[in-house]
Symmetry: C2
Subunit: 371 residues, 2 copies
């Protein structure tokens, strides 16, 4: 959907003549009271559920959670998947043309924040004629958007499902983002973010960024279980082979897995989008305007909350979710919290885990929707 | 010290006409029974203690631990710091000339393992006329060498001090090493490891490698305490400033700290050395030849052991030290183990911590040395 009116951004800049890509699932009811907005994390899009006709492997990124009869039941709810500004999957982003210059934005695409995204999402809802959301849901960075919805538009959100998220990033998380960004921006093919004009793609940097990301999305335990110290040769039926004794060859299976993931990512993800999205993560910090006091910051929220965290998630640890829970309870808000004992690390929020799915399912079942 | 005889390596290759740099502290006693060998980790050298004349900031990397009257008292012990093959701090490495080709080794320097290093160290001791070591001590990768000493030369080691180490790397640790290596080897200035001839240095890759390393050497907690979410501007007296809203500028102090560490490292560390040393870490796995059974692997050891780990060390966690302790106890070896409650992560083994220093001090006090 195209928007003509300029969107003012937190940075002071603004975006005009932009588009937002979105998908919907299920039917909006007569009272327009059954809409659920899904916010995406780093590497995702508006395609949250279902399969595109004729494309067998095109499941939405939260298809295990969302659909007819699923935890978020599209027979009951009208689900909206939205793609954020700055993305490379449809909505206006660095690969598009700046209407002010008729040049590709590239590095000139303005820095967007979680709050900016939520503002843009709210405009989409205005355009769809939806005043109040039955729920907003998101994991990781999507959870930050969900939390921010309850603060920016407290009267438009009845329920907020904040999954595997945090009230802000720790220094360690910022550090990992920064290394990934430096890998991209110091790649000679980056050309200060204007690589499109040079016909290059900073693939080296994107590969490194993705490899770092992958390590932090998994738990140490699941990596040991999945790869351990297995050699590449062992998977080729040569378990007894000695080492290659090479610093260049992939010797261990974890190495070839990471290289594969890096290569794949570099083929489709935009480098400027990566920079923008990691920066949005870094900046999010609703308590900042309240001297770091999260309880004061969350006083505006009126929604009911479900928080979910995963025990082995070291990037967005349960401790961080509990900080949100505590701040909401300090404000006497209605909060449910589930800490799921799952081995998969941060990635768990995207995976099938019976207890996790059932917690979300029960929560959505409890949401009343009047036709 | 120069060695003419070729050193056979685990890979099947060999090194001839090589040198080993070392420093000694204290005096070797008449019975030659008070020698302690110090093995270094990734980013260190033979200069373990003391200050070079006229160079105020040249403290050895373990100077807080080693010296007259210190935990490892050089009034009692004769301490030997050695630099490993493949290093860039003095011993023969990739920056030196290959006697077979009269070209700089570069990427042709053979892959060396922990076992190869220990063999080379043993030859140095032979040359110094030292048959038996009172102790071997090392942290991290140095701890792996220490452990390997007790297996390769069980009759030449009376005591082994294995600090912040592990019986092998986990998949996650290999993964971090691999990302760092890929950052270096995909830097266009790497030239397949023969960058010396091209007059280039793969500094971009070295910077990224060092930034990743730094993150994993620190604990999440100490990073939060030291840097938190503090802005660069706050350190410049402008605490109230808004964000830069930039993906290229260092916005948070943790970012500028990591950039500084990366820049510094890229100025002095050799890229091929980095590859070799991280590979030695990856390969070390004494249990591999015993079907993964560490207890069987350690049956050869005869030394007495002190193991030390640090609670917040997530790169070489206490759990990994306990695996070594258990395997030694399975063999009824004499083992002391201290798990130090320290906030600093893996770096703790290099820092002043009263309990840690006192454990090491007590252990060395208990070692009998007959003049």
């Amino acid at each position: 959907m195209r928007f003509d009116a300029a969107l003012p951004l937190q940075s002071g800049a603004s975006l005009r003549d932009y588009s937002l890509s979105f998908e919907t699932y299920g039917e909006l009811n007569a009272s327009r009271s059954n809409a659920v907005l899904i916010c995406h994390a780093l590497n995702a899009s508006h395609h949250v559920a279902g399969v595109y006709a004729g494309q067998a492997k095109s499941e939405g990124w939260w298809d295990n959670m969302i659909g007819p009869g699923k935890a978020l039941d599209t027979n009951k709810f009208f689900v909206i998947g939205i793609n954020n500004l700055g993305s490379c999957f449809g909505s206006t982003g660095p690969m598009h043309t700046n209407p002010d210059t008729n040049q590709i934005y590239g590095a000139d695409f303005p820095v967007v924040t979680v709050e900016d995204w939520v503002d843009a999402q709210a405009r989409l809802l205005d355009a769809l004629g939806i005043q109040t959301l039955a729920a907003v849901m998101g994991g990781s960075l999507g959870g930050m958007q969900t939390l921010s919805w309850t603060l920016q538009y407290p009267d438009r959100v009845r329920h907020a499902l904040v999954i595997a998220s945090a009230p802000n990033l720790t220094a360690e998380n910022i550090a990992f983002n920064e290394v990934a960004r430096r890998a991209i921006t110091t790649d000679p093919d980056f050309h200060g973010g204007h690589f499109y004009q040079h016909g290059t793609v900073p693939k080296r940097g994107l590969r490194i960024a993705r490899m770092i990301g992958h390590i932090t999305y998994l738990s140490d335990d699941v990596m040991n279980e999945k790869f351990g110290r297995q050699l590449v040769a062992a998977s080729q039926g040569d378990a007894e082979r000695n080492f290659f004794f090479s610093t260049l060859e992939a010797e261990f299976q974890i190495e070839s897995y990471l290289r594969y993931q890096g290569d794949k990512f570099a083929e489709y993800f935009d480098a400027n989008t990566y920079l923008l999205i990691t920066r949005a993560l870094d900046y999010f910090d609703p308590a900042r305007a309240y001297g770091g006091n999260l309880s004061l910051a969350l006083a505006r929220a009126k929604a009911k909350f479900l928080l979910v965290s995963f025990t082995t998630d070291w990037r967005f640890s349960p401790k961080r979710s509990r900080e949100i829970v505590k701040a909401l309870l300090d404000n006497k808000r209605d909060v449910s919290y589930a800490e799921i004992n799952a081995p998969h690390g941060h990635d768990a929020f995207l995976l099938d885990d019976a207890r996790y799915i059932s917690v979300v399912s029960s929560y959505f079942n409890s949401i009343e929707v009047v036709a």
